[in-house]
């Protein structure tokens, strides 16, 4: 059985602390980019703040971590890339981005309904001395190419190397955990194999409170969200199905 890595993010547990964003940036050598705006920065993991549009005591807010949804079916970014710089890994279900082959045409960004793809508008640069903290397992991306969450693929490589060294064919699930999952202080982000019915994440994904964004467009995203709040679950629909304060 092939593996289908995915996530379940419990929005009722998310405090919006941003630890996942910081961990993601540190793990994947994302440059600080002080000149970037909220629309030109590099945030493969982005926590968005959304309210129910009410005021006073009726007001409710939720923090929604948005990352690549690793769409399984008719993956929008894979089919549009003119030079096969994006692919859906059949063995893991991870949607991979190859910055080395990217032309920077940004067609994939236009195709993504979740806005989970980011362009390197500037040359990557770090404050003096900070480059020593770069992760040697992850290549720095150059200006002019697109990048996105790849579920910390370097960690999957490390886990495979470890398994191979021990003479095993399969990795130990405990050896492959994305940085955001590891960093979340409230364990709001769960990671696992959706194809394995016994995996806790697979069970969570089928709970009544679980949902996926824009499910009706048919791309079968592998990142699930979960909330006990009806108004939060209603956000899964399109802009025309729910009226909320946007952030």
């Amino acid at each position: 059985m092939s593996t289908r890595y995915g996530m379940v993010i419990d929005l009722d547990r998310c405090t919006g602390c941003g630890a996942c964003m910081v961990a993601c940036a540190a793990e994947n050598n994302v440059p600080p980019l002080p000149q970037a705006t909220s629309r030109t920065g590099l945030t493969p993991m982005l926590v968005r703040r959304v309210s129910n549009g009410m005021e006073g005591q009726a007001r409710r807010e939720v923090f929604i971590p948005i990352l690549c949804m690793h769409c399984e079916h008719e993956t929008p970014c894979v089919s549009v890339c003119p030079q096969q710089a994006v692919e859906l890994d059949k063995g893991t279900g991870i949607v991979m981005q190859m910055p080395q082959r990217c032309l920077g045409c940004r067609y994939c960004m236009t195709a993504c309904p979740y806005h989970a793809r980011y362009f390197n508008w500037w040359d990557p640069a770090w404050p003096q001395g900070m480059e020593k903290s770069l992760n040697p397992g992850v290549a720095v991306r150059m200006r002019g190419v697109v990048e996105k969450c790849n579920l910390c693929h370097a960690r999957l490589h490390s886990a495979k190397e470890k398994a191979a060294a021990a003479g095993k064919r399969e990795i130990d699930p405990a050896d492959y955990v994305p940085a955001c999952v590891e960093a979340c202080p409230t364990a709001a982000i769960q990671f696992g194999n959706l194809a394995d019915k016994d995996d806790p994440v697979s069970r969570e994904a089928h709970s009544p409170d679980a949902f996926r964004f824009l499910e009706r467009i048919g791309t079968e995203p592998k990142v699930y969200y979960k909330s006990g709040e009806a108004w939060v679950r209603a956000l899964k629909g399109s802009v025309s199905e729910v009226e909320v304060k946007r952030g």
Partner: protein
């Protein structure tokens, strides 16, 4: 100065009346300035990167893609006229053929230039040919536009070699003669490539399942926008040719092509525009009632954001579609220069508005329930590059008009008929 004028005169067709060299240089001067600023702006984008633009992660395509889609549609007159003259044997359109080739060459070379600035890694452009993704509309566009630009360059070459001085060289004359024999084949290849890339440009957004405002169902691999783009391009291309030639006539102060050619082009443009309007209306109804609701999007929600209201839909289909279609096909209005140019202008405006809605409006509209409606204003570098390509077009056309036999039907170009 006298010797320069003399030299300049020797390059102009014998007997043809052209402005004096100082007058011509004065005409070119502002365009050269705009082109120089455009080259500087484009250079900034290539050197410092696309951070010089106001595009961003959400508005990943901007003014340049809109511009590319528009001028490629307007440049469709080149392949379509070649198709009509060489393949359908409509020889009555031959007088406009050379100018159609030049306009097409300008539009396509301008579009390719802008595309090269618009990508983050222009030096990797060859990757698309080396690692092509055959499922991507952009691959189809890249292949077809590159090949068609090559075809247009070969089609432009005989016009260039017919220059008064160049044709004195026997080898050039033989080469031009041989190229001329190739023209029907090139016209066929050009038509094939153009039908595909005009369609692929429609498919560029039409296949985007994640952008329900643009997504369309279709036939086999192709969304309906594939076919609508072909139709709208071949409908507006002849109208654009009418406008360009009329502008050249205005500047030159005389008639350059017989009136019948304009009327023939007007009828072709109007008839095709009429078919396009019907197809577009049916497509819109299918999208409103089936496609968009099936993806979970109430279609009217897309029209609540100003200035993208339903009025734009009316303007595109009726004001810039149905009305020019009627004006261009109705013999009496097409015969009146004022009505003809107004209708041709409306037809071109319609195709430009259609490309604007598909490229810019699609990206401005939210998809997720908590997305905001976005705004985007191009930076001066984007606008200057855009203007630079227009200036390049005016300069190439002006030089071609001055030194090449663009309008061959007028023997010796002695016509002094003033424009009515």
């Amino acid at each position: 100065m006298a010797s320069t004028v003399l030299t300049d005169r020797r390059w102009i067709e014998r007997g043809a009346e052209r402005a004096s060299l100082p007058q011509f240089l004065l005409w070119l001067a502002p365009w050269v300035v705009v082109l120089a600023v455009g080259i500087y702006a484009g250079g900034l984008c290539l050197y410092y990167g696309l951070n010089q633009t106001n595009m961003d992660n959400r508005f990943a395509f901007g003014l340049w893609i809109f511009f590319d889609l528009s001028i490629i549609a307007l440049g469709a007159g080149a392949f379509f006229t070649g198709f009509l003259v060489y393949l359908l044997k409509r020889t009555d359109l031959r007088p406009i053929l050379n100018t159609a080739v030049v306009v097409g060459f300008i539009c396509y070379s301008g579009a390719v230039t802008i595309l090269m600035i618009d990508v983050g890694q222009p030096l990797r452009a060859w990757f698309t040919f080396w690692y092509p993704n055959t499922h991507s509309m952009l691959t189809e566009i890249t292949f077809c536009i590159t090949c068609y630009l090559l075809v247009l360059s070969i089609e432009y070459l005989p016009i260039l070699l017919r220059n008064r001085q160049l044709r004195k060289l026997p080898s050039f004359l033989v080469f031009e003669h041989q190229l001329h024999k190739l023209m029907p084949v090139l016209a066929g290849v050009g038509a094939f490539l153009s039908f595909f890339h005009q369609g692929s440009l429609g498919g560029l957004y039409g296949v985007l399942r994640g952008r329900p405002f643009a997504f369309r169902q279709g036939f086999f691999l192709w969304p309906s926008t594939f076919f609508l783009f072909i139709l709208s391009a071949i409908a507006s291309g002849p109208s654009f040719l009418i406008l360009v030639t009329a502008a050249a006539e205005k500047v030159a102060g005389k008639r350059l092509v017989p009136r019948e050619v304009f009327q023939r082009l007007a009828f072709i443009s109007g008839a095709l525009l009429g078919i396009y309007v019907i197809a577009k209306a049916i497509d819109t109804l299918i999208w409103l009632n089936i496609t968009s609701p099936s993806l979970g999007f109430a279609p009217w929600q897309f029209y609540i954001y100003r200035p993208f209201g339903t009025s734009l839909l009316f303007v595109e289909i009726v004001l810039f579609g149905l009305i020019p279609a009627l004006l261009l096909t109705y013999r009496r209005t097409a015969a009146r220069r004022g009505w003809l140019l107004t209708a041709a202008g409306l037809a071109c405006a319609g195709v430009v508005l259609n490309r604007f809605r598909l490229t810019i409006q699609t990206l401005a509209l939210p998809t997720l329930a908590f997305d905001p409606f976005l705004q985007y204003t191009p930076s001066w570098q984007e606008v200057a590059s855009f203007a630079g390509v227009i200036a390049y077009g005016v300069i190439v056309y002006s030089l071609s008009y001055r030194y090449l036999p663009l309008f061959v039907q007028l023997k010796g170009d002695r016509s002094h008929v003033s424009v009515d």
